[in-house]
């Protein structure tokens, strides 16, 4: 498969004299796969995800995502890139409590220029598909963790982005809810989305990812297909 994400010697350093969060990473992620990034805390996993999503910029190297050199994207271009190419799923959901569920889901579509009525219709469809259509007019604070993460997933896919980035998507959920969320991500992958998943949980990675990358101290220390064979 063709690479949809290509890291070329990418580094990210936050403090001038500090240890780099990412240190010369070379990595290609194939389209249509579920790739899990694992490693100890502070290893650079979230930083890697942030760079892919153009939420942050590399200090060195080149990073191409879906044909876009994200190292060259300015603020507005990065925002438009995220609208069209990236779906974000966070450990703590990051829903806007003042908005209703359907408004949260429709928000990226509205930002992408879709008229409000059309955005809400698409959001309604997604919520129904995810089994939480009944909560459309409620606010996130009235939902369970699993329901909130489903809302976040619906929000992440409303613009049909080719890439989904999930940072510890089950970290704040109980086991059953977490399994439900991972099943959703698997379904989305089958529909064609590329999924890059950060997780601490080796069982979760083994059960869902087709490739597992180990990241320790900002460097890739392991990279294998999920059938046990090294890459």
């Amino acid at each position: 498969m063709d690479a949809i994400i290509t890291f070329g010697g990418v580094s990210r350093t936050y403090e001038p004299a500090g240890r780099p969060a990412l240190d010369g990473v070379d990595l290609e992620i194939e389209a249509g796969r579920v790739t899990a990034v694992m490693g100890p805390s502070g290893g650079g996993k979230s930083t890697l995800l942030n760079l892919i999503g153009a939420l942050d910029r590399p200090s060195a190297g080149r990073l191409v995502v879906a044909g876009n050199d994200v190292t060259r994207l300015g603020g507005a271009a990065a925002a438009r890139f995220r609208r069209s190419t990236i779906g974000l799923i966070f450990q703590f959901f990051h829903l806007i409590d003042e908005l209703s569920v359907i408004d949260n889901v429709a928000l990226p579509a509205r930002l992408a220029g879709m008229p409000g009525r059309a955005a809400h219709e698409r959001a309604r469809t997604l919520l129904d598909q995810l089994g939480i259509g009944h909560a459309a007019k409620r606010h996130p604070t009235g939902l369970s963790g699993g329901e909130r993460q489903r809302v976040a997933i619906a929000r992440a896919v409303i613009n049909r982005p080719p890439i989904l980035l999930a940072d510890e998507p089950t970290g704040a959920l109980d086991r059953r809810s977490g399994e439900g969320v991972m099943d959703l991500l698997a379904d989305l992958n089958r529909l064609g989305h590329t999924v890059v998943l950060v997780t601490h949980d080796p069982r979760l990675a083994e059960a869902n990812a087709t490739r597992i990358v180990q990241l320790v101290d900002g460097r890739i220390t392991g990279d294998r297909q999920n059938d046990g064979r090294p890459r």
């Binding site: 979230s46 930083t47 942030n50 999503g53 939420l55 942050d56 603020g75 507005a76 925002a79 438009r80 995220r82 609208r83 974000l88 966070f90 703590f92 990051h94 829903l95 806007i96 409590d97 003042e98 908005l99 209703s100 569920v101 359907i102 408004d103 928000l107 990226p108 509205r110 930002l111 992408a112 008229p115 409000g116 009525r117 809400h120 459309a136 007019k137 409620r138 606010h139 604070t141 009235g142 929000r155």
Partner: protein, 826 residues
């Protein structure tokens, strides 16, 4: 260091921006309050303060130099009732030649073939110090001939400075000694003969001085120079006295009588008391009080709004920190101390800075204020004002912080911890669970609203939603903006009104050419000469006649010779008189007499009376009419009273195509009476002062309002950092992020403007009406109370400008904020 102090210090270090914002808002508020209160206090009884500082003279006595010797006058210093004395000094008249003054000073053309000379009243006083009337002095006193010390007033009017070389000469001819120049010019004794020889002395200005007791003295000369330029003119000796006791009118009369008894009969040619001078200054100062009081209230209200808004927001925004502290065992009292410390310490720094800035800013305005009152010196800052302002400001800060801090410290730690860093997660939408969001409602009106929302860009509807997210903060910010807008409308309205009132009182646009008093025997001749002058248009004479009005008592009737409808008086109501039998009256006279426009009025003089109809209420502040009890009408109206025609003045307009200055130049020297351009430098200076105060204080208040909005929006954007990061992660561009912040404050700015406009307009009306009551008393024509009209509504849009100005920097910071850092800050 105790643990609590360590937490406090860490909090201060971590929240540097917040602390700086608190300090800035407090400093701006304190500076505004200090400025307005300092000027307000300085305008309260300014004469007494200056008089006490200068050890002013309770009595200023001028005697005929030909009838009294200096030794005789000096001996009066030891009379009973005299506490101290200074003098005697010679007083005389001289002239300041125009050709030698500093470049740039404008001079009217002199008489044909002659050098124009401004009349000066000069003294040979030998020192600035003394037991009575200590002069304020810049530079030094004259050490001998060839040097001159001029009054601060003369320096200002003539554009002179220390080091300038001037030429002085004998006084110009003419009644009152004034052909043009400052209205304080001294009088020449009527009928004084001048020698044909012109004496000129070149002197250098070595100092400028101000006298509380002898403001009519324009310059002080060395003995020989004095004698040379006053030669042939009337001489007077002047003595200054301080009296024992309270120096009441009775005390002054007793001392006067004692002095007069020791001098030849009729020797005293003039006597001024400090009571008259004080009354004149206080009346002017009183005019300032309404404006300054209004601005002081504005400043204090704005300061209180800002501080309460800012401080309350900081405390409420620190609920998570409170929860953490409580959960690790810090007592509520200790939590309150920490919160207060985090607010009070930067506020204290801001307080001190604000006092310094306010003090520095106050000094030039205070100097201008004192100068506008005609007083010497620059005014002294009152330490009490600074102390009170500083203490009250800190009290407001502590009070604003204490209540929310106490409430938060005594709340549930769990609830406080649950109040996360985003403002969104602390607010729970009330109402039915099925509703409350921007869901798609049903029905016709909701559909229209949805359609309207659909038409809005995301940054607009997201911003508008935010504007109502925190009702208390929104209300406080709206109030602060309303104060700012009200200050703008008040400043602009008062400025515009003063600009309209000044020429309306002076009437220089209608009748700019004025003569001095003409003796009744010369009136006919002057009238003929003026009527025949090709450079003049309409001309009218004005004679002041003492009359009585029932229920009002003594009044002044200003009798016009002929049609005077063009002389330019503004009317409070009604119209100008058309001819005999009709009059216009001042507001105060109508009020005292219980009359209205349209009523009949009986005017009496001796046993004779005449009945007239009041056709108008004139906007008039006439210094020649005590208590502003006056009537204006045709001379023929009071003919039945048999009044002897007294001295008259003439007012005239220039002919078409001729300037007033040219017309005056052509008349000067031909009539034998002074002909001047209508001016009132005292009033001009007062109006300039009022306008300056209004503009400066208005700007300061606007800055305070902008500062308050800045801090509120900064707080809000920081508390919404996570929400903003989420929006940006979902695709909000930097420009849209700025738009969200700005749209969140635009409704607040609009509402603040809508509130501020009527408040400012009404305040303008109240202050100007109050000023009219003090100055006249007189009512102010409606057109002058509301000069702005519909423009005030446009000024209301300044609320939006204030909101945007205060939000710009925080909006930019939000746009530039790092998304990843905010998202993972949880």
């Amino acid at each position: 260091m105790t643990p609590i102090a360590a937490v406090l210090g860490a909090g201060l270090r971590r929240r540097r921006v917040q602390g700086a914002a608190v300090g800035i808002v407090v400093s701006m508020s304190v500076a505004a309050a200090t400025l307005s209160l300092t000027i307000l206090v300085g305008s309260t009884a300014p004469y007494e303060r200056a008089f006490a500082a200068a050890s002013g003279a309770h009595l200023v006595v001028d005697v005929d130099g030909a009838a009294v010797t200096p030794e005789q006058l000096a001996a009066t210093a030891s009379l009973p009732g005299v506490a101290a004395a200074a003098g005697p000094w010679d007083i005389g008249l001289a002239g300041l030649v125009d050709g030698s003054v500093a470049p740039g000073a404008a001079r009217p053309p002199g008489p044909a073939g002659g050098r124009f000379a401004f009349p000066l009243r000069v003294s040979d006083r030998d020192a600035a110090d003394g037991p009575v009337d200590r002069l304020t002095l810049d530079g030094r006193w004259a050490r001998g001939d060839g040097e001159i010390v001029i009054s601060q007033r003369l320096a200002r009017l003539q554009g002179l400075a220390i080091g300038d070389r001037v030429t002085i000469t004998i006084a110009p001819r003419g009644i009152k000694g004034a052909e043009a120049g400052p209205s304080s010019a001294a009088s020449a004794a009527p009928g004084t003969a001048r020698g044909a020889t012109t004496v000129e002395r070149a002197v250098v200005v070595v100092g400028t001085a101000g006298s509380i007791s002898t403001p009519d003295i324009d310059a002080w000369l060395g003995r020989t120079d004095f004698s040379a330029v006053t030669i042939g003119g009337p001489t007077r000796l002047e003595m200054l006295y301080r009296v024992d006791g309270a120096a009441t009118a009775a005390d002054l009369e007793r001392v006067r009588a004692t002095i007069a008894a020791h001098l030849p009969a009729g020797a005293i040619v003039s006597l001024d008391t400090w009571l008259d001078a004080r009354a004149a200054v206080d009346k002017t100062a009183d005019l300032m009080v309404p404006i300054l009081a209004a601005f002081s209230v504005f400043a204090l209200a704005a300061a209180a709004f800002m501080v309460v808004n800012v401080i309350g927001g900081i405390v409420l925004g620190g609920r998570r920190q409170i929860g953490l502290l409580l959960s690790v065992g810090v007592t509520p009292r200790q939590v309150v101390a920490i919160l207060l410390g985090q607010v009070a310490l930067p506020a204290l720094a801001g307080d001190a800075l604000g006092l310094v800035v306010g003090t520095i800013a106050s000094r030039p305005m205070l100097e201008d204020t004192i100068r506008a009152f005609g007083l010497p010196g620059g005014g002294e800052l009152e330490p009490g004002v600074l102390a009170v302002t500083g203490i009250v400001a800190m009290a407001v800060v502590v009070g604003a912080a204490l209540l929310p801090a106490w409430g938060a410290a005594h709340g549930s730690p769990t609830d406080a911890l649950a109040g996360r860093a985003t403002a969104t997660s602390t607010r729970r939408r009330r109402g039915p669970a099925s509703g409350g969001g921007r869901s798609l409602p049903t029905g016709r009106w909701p559909a229209l609203a949805t359609a309207a929302a659909d038409a809005l860009r995301p940054s607009v509807w997201i911003g508008l939603r935010r504007s109502s997210g925190h009702p208390l903060r929104t209300a406080m910010t709206t109030g602060a903006i309303a104060v700012g807008v009200a200050a703008i409308v008040f400043s602009a309205g008062t400025y515009a009104s003063l600009r309209a009132i000044a020429p309306a009182l002076l009437r220089d646009h209608a009748a700019p050419i004025r003569t001095g008093l003409v003796a009744s025997s010369q009136v006919a001749g002057i009238e003929t000469a003026l009527a025949a002058d090709p450079d003049l248009g309409r001309v009218t004479s004005v004679t002041a006649v003492d009359v009585t009005v029932p229920a009002a008592g003594p009044a002044v009737y200003f009798a016009y010779g002929g049609n005077a409808s063009w002389v330019g008086y503004a009317m409070v109501s009604g119209r100008w008189f058309d001819g005999p039998g009709e009059v216009v009256a001042s507001s105060h006279l109508l009020e005292v007499a219980g009359l209205s426009v349209g009523d009949h009025l009986t005017i009496g003089r001796g046993a004779a009376t005449v009945d007239v109809v009041v056709v108008g209420e004139v906007f008039d502040v006439e210094s020649d009419a005590p208590d502003n009890l006056l009537v204006r009408g045709d001379a023929g109206t009071i003919a039945p009273l048999g009044a002897d025609p007294g001295p008259a003045r003439f007012e005239a307009e220039p002919a078409r195509g001729v300037t007033a200055e040219a017309a005056i130049a052509g008349l000067r020297g031909r009539l034998g009476v002074p002909v001047v351009l209508a001016s009132n430098s005292d009033a001009d200076e007062h109006f300039l002062l009022f306008e300056g105060v209004v503009v400066v204080l208005g700007l300061v208040l606007v800055l305070v309002a902008v500062g308050g909005v800045f801090h509120t929006v900064l707080l809000d954007t920081r508390q919404r950092a996570l929400e903003t990061a989420i929006l940006k992660a979902l695709g909000l561009t930097p420009r849209q992020t700025v738009g969200v912040v700005l749209w969140s404050v635009l409704p607040i700015g609009l509402v603040g403007g809508l509130i501020g406009v009527p408040v400012g307009s009404q305040l303008t009306r109240l202050v100007l009406s109050d000023m009219g009551r003090i100055a006249g008393p007189t009512l102010v024509p409606e057109g002058f109370l509301d000069v702005l009209g519909p423009l005030a509504i446009v000024l209301g849009l300044s609320g939006i400008a204030i909101a945007v100005a205060g939000s710009w920097i925080p909006a930019g910071a939000a746009a530039r904020s790092r998304i990843a850092a905010a998202l993972h800050a949880e």
